[in-house]
Amino acid sequence: MKDSRLPWLRPVVALVISAFFLVPLYMILVNVFKQGEKITQSPASLPDPPTLENITGLLGRTDNLFWASLTNSIVVTTLSIILLTVLSAMLGHFLARSRSRWARVAMLLLLSGLMIPPQVILMPITQVLRALGLMTTLQGLVLFNVGYYIPFGVFVFTGFLRGIPIELEEAAAIDGASRSRIFWRVVFPLLRPATASVLIFLGVWIWNDFINPLVILGPSQGTTITTGIYRSIGQYQADFGTVFALMFLATLPVLIFYLFLQKHFVKGLTGGATKG
């Protein structure tokens, strides 16, 4: 249908509303390049003259806040999403193809995991991790991420597997391929779109995660990029230059990632909404 009267109204209204959405992003962008005191005095003005002080100051800090946090975030996110993809694809495939009653029980338990708030399990998690000797370690955080986010992975993979005919796997089995071979050579390559969704969403969520690394890594063992931002607002109350630089550098990778892969984001999100 066409907009018959006032054809300019729709784009104008849309632009005005979207401006409201851009203000916070604009705030990050202009304040990164501003001297510290001007950030509080005139938050919305353009940086005049622009300065790289905040960023160079952050990168050159003697306590290595940025580089250490960045390394932790990259290590934790990468390891978590690789493990999550592999484990949830295998588990999802197993559950989607199993005809046992137990598989259905497991599926139900996993799906209810989608709504469990981390606060409910964080206290006992600290004890489980302490018992395993993994409290305040990156490995502990990775393992927790795998357990906590596996329902999402399984959910995406089983949904996708419903559309893949089992005959392909049976044909491979008749040809004498082993179970593992069938999974890795026949099934896993077919799951590529689902794998993309899982990697992208979990990547962004885990990168942005706050409470889990805050509690599990604890105060002494360094920070991820998000807990680093949190710690630096407490520590350097007045130094918003550092805080904005850290926020800018923490957001940049996710934003670039999002702009390049937005099609996958939207597809992953709406997969469940459009299919009946």
Binding site: M107, P117, G147, V154, V215, M247, G271, A273, T274
Partner: protein
């Protein structure tokens, strides 16, 4: 958060192969050990077992710095419902959840209808609206704190416009909760827009055209055709918003620490961690956590049931 909340996937019986002979038992066990067990093991260790442990602790007075731990039965639960701090957090969480379920849902639908056109402008704007979803809550919280601070961007603007005493968005105990609700709504709006847009694109054009020929105006067409067909989108948005709002923690921790005043913005999630990990009353905090889990499961379950009934099949 692509949570397909309507349908419990049916793993076994739905595949057309129900007639096929089952594999021998040993074979099935082997494939379970190889493919099913690793994931389930991690999930059990880090999600199911902790919930069981939480429940166990909720029946004790456990405090790691104040042993010995005694079994106290349901005392913690009884205490909860007379504890004004907990009841306040329940009220705070409810207000926050109601606002966050309604505002992004309504605004998201409006914006989706607005953007449901072809062309580069609308594509670009879709990208803009979704951007807050990929930002960390910590970043969102810090930026909004800068904007809503007493001397922040919003109040500077208001002063420039001649308002002499602009409100303390985050410092006034009566306002802070609503400010946080707006911040969270801002962050979740993009999600609703994307889900509604996908729903709108699934509405067949022929239906609207036919109704138009029958003399239905735009409002009537929306109410009688589009809206009922958007039911699955409404279900997804409502449930996701409900769960997200109910467990909000990051924004509280970064922006207000539960204040200003006592507990004016302390959500249940915030209260649980304060009581458990700061005050170390882990037995009591576990009871809170279990109550939280029960409420969230019940609320999500009821919402799903009610909204699923509305969904029509084309």
């Amino acid at each position: 958060m692509a949570v397909d909340v309507r349908t419990t996937p049916v793993p076994a019986s739905a595949t057309p192969g129900s007639r096929r002979p089952r594999l021998p038992r040993a074979e099935r066990l082997r494939s379970f050990a190889l493919f099913g067990a690793p994931g389930l093991l991690v999930y059990t260790c880090f999600v199911l077992a902790p919930i069981a442990i939480s429940f166990g602790y909720s029946l004790t007075n456990h405090n790691p710095f104040n042993p010995p731990t005694r079994f106290v039965g349901l005392d913690n639960y009884r205490l909860l419902f007379t504890d004004s701090e907990f009841l306040t957090s329940l009220r705070v969480t409810t207000i926050l959840t109601v606002i966050v379920v309604i505002v992004p849902n309504v605004a998201g639908l409006g914006i989706a209808v607005l953007l449901d056109r072809k062309g580069w402008l609308y594509n670009a704007l879709r990208t803009v609206f979704f951007t807050p979803m990929v930002l960390s809550s910590v970043v969102v919280s810090v930026v909004w704190t800068r904007m809503l601070d007493d001397e922040g961007l919003v109040n500077q603007t208001l002063r420039a416009l001649g308002v002499e005493q602009p409100p303390g968005w985050l410092s006034d105990p009566r306002l802070a909760l609503y400010s946080i609700a707006i911040i969270l709504s801002w962050q979740m709006l993009g999600f609703c827009v994307v889900v509604y847009l996908a729903g709108l694109q699934g509405v067949p054009n022929e239906l609207a055209e036919a109704a138009s020929i029958d003399g239905a105006g735009p409002v009537r067409r929306f109410r009688s055709i589009t809206w009922p067909l958007l039911a699955p989108s409404l279900t997804i948005n409502t449930v996701v918003l409900l769960i997200t709002a109910f467990k909000v923690f990051d924004h509280i921790q970064v922006i207000t620490h539960g204040g200003p005043g006592t507990g004016t913005t302390a959500t249940i999630a915030y209260d649980v961690l304060q009581t458990g990990l700061v005050a170390n009353r882990q037995g009591y905090a576990s009871a809170m956590a279990i109550v939280m889990l029960v409420i969230i499961a019940a609320a999500a379950g009821v919402t799903l049931k009610v909204l699923n009934r509305r969904e029509v099949n084309l």
